[in-house]
Amino acid sequence: MGCILSIIEAKNKEIRNSSLEVLSESQKIAKTKNLENKVVILGEYDQNNSNQINEFGIDVVLLGATDKIKDYSPDLYKNTILGLINQLEPEIILFSGSAIGKDISPRISANLNYNLVTECIEIKVEDDGYKIKRPIFAGKIIQTLKFNKEPIVMSLKSNYFMVKKVGQKEYSTEQVNIEEIENTTAPMLKEIIQPQKETLDVSEASIIVAGGRGMKEPNNFKLIEELAEVLDAAVGASRAVVDAGWRPHSEQVGQTGKIVSPNLYIAAGISGAIQHQVGMINSKCIVAINKDKNAPIFKFADYGIVGDLFEIIPELITKLKE
């Protein structure tokens, strides 16, 4: 029986949400193709947390989570995953679209001369291969590709797939041997810089409150931050305010920033230029606050308030606190 191998990331002893999305998809593919569903967990993970993963139809858990691999090391990850692929000969290797997934999947693919399809939003198993949909041009267009050669490496677009549990299932656990590599030329992690204030990242948040040029000046983003705090949301920004130096690039949503799809996206003082639109159009619910009733954002926002955001946002904060 062939197998599918999913690369699962754990952080602070928890499986990351983007990896739970991978687990949901991998069990679906495994079932359709009658493959063994094997997963390797890398990072910082506590085995006692198995309730997080025991409902995804997993057959085998390969535990690669040790102190050695707690933080990301391209070399250690690469060698561990290549070793497993060599041993298990999976037909499909599935990654998440996380920062680690984006860095490691091309390394694996190039070493094995396998094809890599990134940012998949739909994977259809057919008799003679796979039909995969992925957004291009930041989602302005959807591309359908067909692959009929295996093995194939795929990575999923984050925040796109539903996390879907299929009921409890027993699985076997094997420890993976992680070998340190000597005399490596690979990049080594020296330090992790945490933000001064614990903040949610737009790429992982389920609610985003974003501000644009309509905020008028950088100081006024205090309002956005306050609203974000009340909603337990991440702060987002348009390209205009990032380019003006009001906000860091890590908050930029759009074609040259992050492409997000939270449950709720509140856009304040953002006109909705195409550059921004493609970054957030897949949000489940979009709320726009803008004083210009002709702003393009009202064409695709689910709910709009035409008015002065300096009156509306404080009112919103008050009402939400009630």
Binding site: N115, F137, L145, E204, T256, D302
Partner: protein, 251 residues
Amino acid sequence: MNIAVCIKQVPDTASQLKISEDNKSIDENGIKYEINPFDEYALEEALRLKDNDSTINITVISLGPERVKKSLTKTLAMGADEALHIETDEVIDDCINIAKIIADEIKKNQYDLILFGKKSVDQDNNQVGIMIGELNNISCISNCSEFRIEGNKIIANREVEGSVEVFESELPAIITHEKGKNELRYPSLKDLMAAKKKPINTVKNEAGKDKKSELIKLEYPEKREEGVIIGEDKSAVTKLVRILREEKKII
């Protein structure tokens, strides 16, 4: 020091794209091509290194059809020393094949630093620079927002979810660059005119021999339904909160 910067020519991000009748390509009529924004940030980093050390030699490399030359000329006007056009009229879909072609060209020279944008904004693949690192056995740090060189080492800040990872590597190294902190420069008309006289080296490639994927179709995403304006002032807020809490149940 020898630096290579790999750039891709892509439709301007403000373009309204139209799918051709074959449903497999973009209608090129009326499309303005520009240098991929992330590649421009990578190039800017190289130019800033050269601003401080004129002995640095920058080669800009681009794979693509004839029109790519215009972007290469622009980089020469911005301050790059040499331009290499890897000519192909074929559209190569598989990143691994693109990576192999560029990797072969890179191998022919001794570069200390090879810069890429983290991804191209047309195909959003996020693969080629990292793959070339593996193919040529060069250390690669991806998704960097800034880096500095100290002696034979490079120290780079890699942007990840919610934090920044500082990686260190020996040279030669590959960096794939995020949007940087530095403002981009624009060439003057005079520099552009002068650059037109500079040579662009051209090589042909044998692409697409090992085609791995087949493009079935392109389509537009589903349109969002037009929403509703729920009010014109702060009195709409109560209604909004009720919708989000009770109807949508998302807060």
